[in-house]
Amino acid sequence: MDGSLGIGFELLPNGAFSKKNMLLQIHLDSSSLNDFKICPRRYYLSIVYGFQPAQESVHLTFGIALHRAVELYWTYRLDRQMPHRDAMVEVVRETLKATWDYNLNRPWQSDDKAFKIKNRYTLVRTIVWYLDKYQNDPVQVVRVGNDDRLAVELPFRLGTGYKSATTGEEFVLCGRLDRIGELNGARYVTDVKSTGHTLSEYWFAKFTPDNQFTIYTIAARSVFGVDTTGILVDACQVVQSFSEFQRGVVSRSDEQLNRWHHDLAFFLEQLEKCAYDDDWPQNDSACGMYGGCPFRQVCSATSANSRELILRREYKRRVWDPTFERMDY
């Protein structure tokens, strides 16, 4: 088997990729970069060709809806000056809409066993409890930019300083920050994460090092000019019978940020080599990590024909374009 799929799938048009080489991603978000760092083959399947398991990820759907709810809430409160209760009711309305299957005219459902814990009911419960808890949030949203706007829902694009050796284009990091706020004189990017695990300092420790939070810290500093030392994480523990919340700080030092940027060059070189050669090696040490790679059965196939069959039967395709809308959670 060579490094490419070697089968009859067309590349889908994607604005994040170079026009000179459709296999080379120029605009990278944390999810894209993360996938490549885990395994070039995984990245090739999920980002370059846009495959994802036909059965949606309950964790992803839940996370996106929770993020969106918190964003909406603060927009209603800060931009529209809505009272807490009114804003919360509107957020619940939008959440129920976002989790309604309009094709089948029924609520969001899934066969995933995680759906027993992360479902529509526990989502709304988590949102109501979270918003009640933080309605008088001591975090004060700061203002950024020349237009002095409130720092909520901040899309960013940030040149890395590294150029493609084959196309001459500069690699760009992109994504979107939830909020930048001030707490006890310090400024932070804020983010919301949901988990089934007990919340403790060990849970927060998993974000250091972490690709996504490092990129967010760099973006806050470089794009929005906010002198921040890291991320304020609102962790939501979601279990069947209750939801619980804990706030923690994930810090980054200058040295850590500089080192990450230095290391980025290595991965971009690898990315470019894979794209130029159309050769995407497997990292077979990562197949069992993170709950198991979603493409394990593809890589386990013994021939190109069976690989194609599995991809057509068990996966669907979408365009992962971080320049288009928020994709990373």
């Binding site: 209760r85 919360m88 009711v89 619940v92 309305r93 129920l96 809409k97 309604w100 005219n105 029924r106 609520p107 529509r120 009911y121 709304v124 419960r125 109501v128 409890w129 009640d132 019978s241 209750f242």
Partner: protein, 93 residues
């Protein structure tokens, strides 16, 4: 008011009305057709649930208190000294 009127038997319409606003029904209804009253009910339900869980947690703490009633079996123990191993030497009457 007669005693018969104190606890009125629910009429069919009343039952239908109550069922209409059950939580399960609210969650299974097309959200485009869900009015503010229904949304308010969902929010209130979630808040009640949290408060009831908090109350239950308090009761549980009370329940695990040691039984100190006079009928509980007792063994008279006098602590005379503690060894370096951390064991407690006891002297029985």
């Amino acid at each position: 008011m007669s005693s018969d009127n104190t606890y009125p038997i629910p009429q069919t319409d009343a039952l239908r009305q109550a069922d209409k606003y059950s939580l399960q029904e609210l969650f299974s209804r097309d959200p485009e057709a869900l009015g503010t009253i229904g949304l308010e009910q969902i929010v209130t339900h979630m808040q009640d649930l949290r408060d009831r869980l908090a109350a239950t947690a308090t009761v549980r703490q009370v329940r695990v208190k040691k039984d100190v009633s006079p009928r509980a079996p007792t063994l008279p123990i006098i602590v005379s000294s503690a060894s370096q191993m951390g064991f407690v030497k006891v002297k029985k009457d």
